[in-house]
Symmetry: C2
Subunit: 317 residues, 2 copies
């Protein structure tokens, strides 16, 4: 492709919609966020009105680009919910985004903006962003883990995002975890990673063991202040995630694993537990795996969405 290139990127979440212009100055150089803004999603309005707001945001980004005399190559979208790779519509979104399921995001944006549009799940966009220009820059095989309220992730192979058959690739919330054996999961199974290693899992295990019903951030604070139960639950969460990283590494043999999301805010002892769980379970030849913290923060899904657009257009880089 001919540099410089400008791509508009949108990140649609349950709380806010972020929009940005990303400028790729030259080959091999990270894109720069040259303009960004965000507005509340006000998701309770329902998916139809939200999509209208998304189109308005996209058009305002294109107008901003025109004012800067930059031509926009297209729009990359990162969104909450599972994306139908064929249609660019929303295959499924949960109750945080009512009626977002079924919204034809790509078609509506292409119609409204008259530029090419690509649409990707936000956790996958986050992972792709980190793989291309963040902690996993240059990775050919990589797992990005988003440990927040739930546990999700994104999988990179051959340097490209793997979407999988239904768009679920990179999910790891429901993989087997020895720390969770016997605990029933909302999915119908039991013993899954999310039950002990996610924010909601940490809260549930803490309350179940007799702790007050407080949020994960408070449990982390109590653990840091050496409250025994909080410390135990946070360490268990770290060990569980580390053991899961060992399982994932045994299967993928990744160049590195990147961890993002809010759970890492639990701090250095949690991080040490992740390492302990990993080293406990990984065969010796793979013990050197780099386990890295995500680097791009809120920009990661925007960068990933822009990268997905460039991948979709199959431009030489």
């Amino acid at each position: 492709m001919e540099y410089p290139v400008v791509v508009a990127a949108l990140d649609i979440g349950g709380t806010k919609i972020a929009g940005a212009l990303l400028r790729y100055a030259k080959a091999g150089q990270a894109p720069e966020v040259v303009y960004e803004r965000q507005i509340p999603t006000d998701a309770k309005r329902g998916g139809g009105p939200v999509l209208v707001t998304v189109c308005d945001m996209a058009n305002s980004l294109l107008a901003e680009a025109r004012a800067r005399r930059e031509e926009v190559l297209g729009i990359g979208v990162s969104t909450a919910g599972r994306v139908d790779a064929e249609t660019g519509g929303i295959a499924y979104a949960n109750e945080i985004m009512p009626e977002w399921t079924g919204q034809p995001v790509r078609d509506r944006l292409e119609e409204s903006c008259e530029v090419p549009v690509s649409v990707l799940n936000d956790v996958q966009a986050h992972g792709l962003g980190e793989a291309r220009w963040g902690a996993a820059r240059g990775a050919q095989t990589c797992m990005m883990i988003a440990a927040g309220t739930g546990i999700g992730g994104a999988l990179i192979a051959h340097g490209k995002l793997v979407r999988g058959n239904h768009g679920f690739a990179g999910e790891i919330g429901h993989i087997a975890c020895s720390q969770a054996v016997g605990i029933p999961c909302v999915c119908g199974g039991s013993g899954h990673l999310e039950l002990v290693a996610s924010g909601s899992g940490i809260e549930a295990r803490y309350a179940e063991a007799g702790g007050e019903p407080v949020d994960g951030a408070e449990i982390s604070r109590r653990a840091a202040a050496d409250e025994p139960l909080a410390h135990h639950i946070i360490m268990q969460a770290g060990i569980a995630l580390g053991e899961a990283i060992a399982s994932i590494t045994n299967l993928l043999d990744p160049d590195m694993v990147v961890i993002g999301g809010s759970v890492p805010k639990a701090g250095t002892r949690w991080r040490a537990a992740v390492q302990e769980g990993f080293e406990r379970q990984i065969p010796p030849a793979q013990r050197g795996l780099p386990i890295l913290a995500a680097e791009l923060g809120d920009h990661a899904p925007l960068v990933g969405a822009a990268e997905d657009l460039l991948d979709t257009l199959e431009l030489e880089r």
Copy 2:
């Protein structure tokens, strides 16, 4: 590439070395094995003499092709041991192939035969063969599981084999398994899949529970004859593999999973246990995953090795 195309393929194992000529008649059509032979590896001679035999076998395949007035595009090699993707040499082989570690398979064959050579681990070659022309034909995302003495596998993403950072991708013997919790593994970890679901695991668990020290095939026969302990161990092996397939599916969202190797000979009740373990643990949206039996038999690694050569040459297909 211009059809027809002929590729020589070698499959180097601890017991035998198989060689074949594969002919691709036209685009979209499976390659045909037009000639094949095999000789004993006699691995105890050591890696150096084995590599000499491998070169002789390769040259005899090229001579056979010349006699048939076919030009050979190159040689695809499937071999026991872990392959260094950069050098095409053997990064590590176990005691079944003494001194096979370090053998420069690709370089020596290229020197001896003067055609392009690619080298791939045999389980990965098996998986690539099945993904291209076997049970997983046309798969973009696929996991092939080889359940034999140990448990290995091969991972396909974007239609291409994933080798991973050290050539380990597709290994699943050491992923977490709730049926194995607490059982120590030779790798230093514990609770790993191989400990209950592989042939050696089945034998160990049967003996540990008071069964006679017999081989896996005999345990399968006893299970089929309703010996309670044998039945229990075989069912546990099936459940464990099914649960592992659920973990793998949660992570990869594959188009399908293919199972090969000797353990499937345990029969229909084992297969039903695999399905039960899978369905127990998989979230509802992914319950429809096809779990298929491998189709290509002994030809799979030869086909995979030939495909790897064509991939390496980056020919349009």
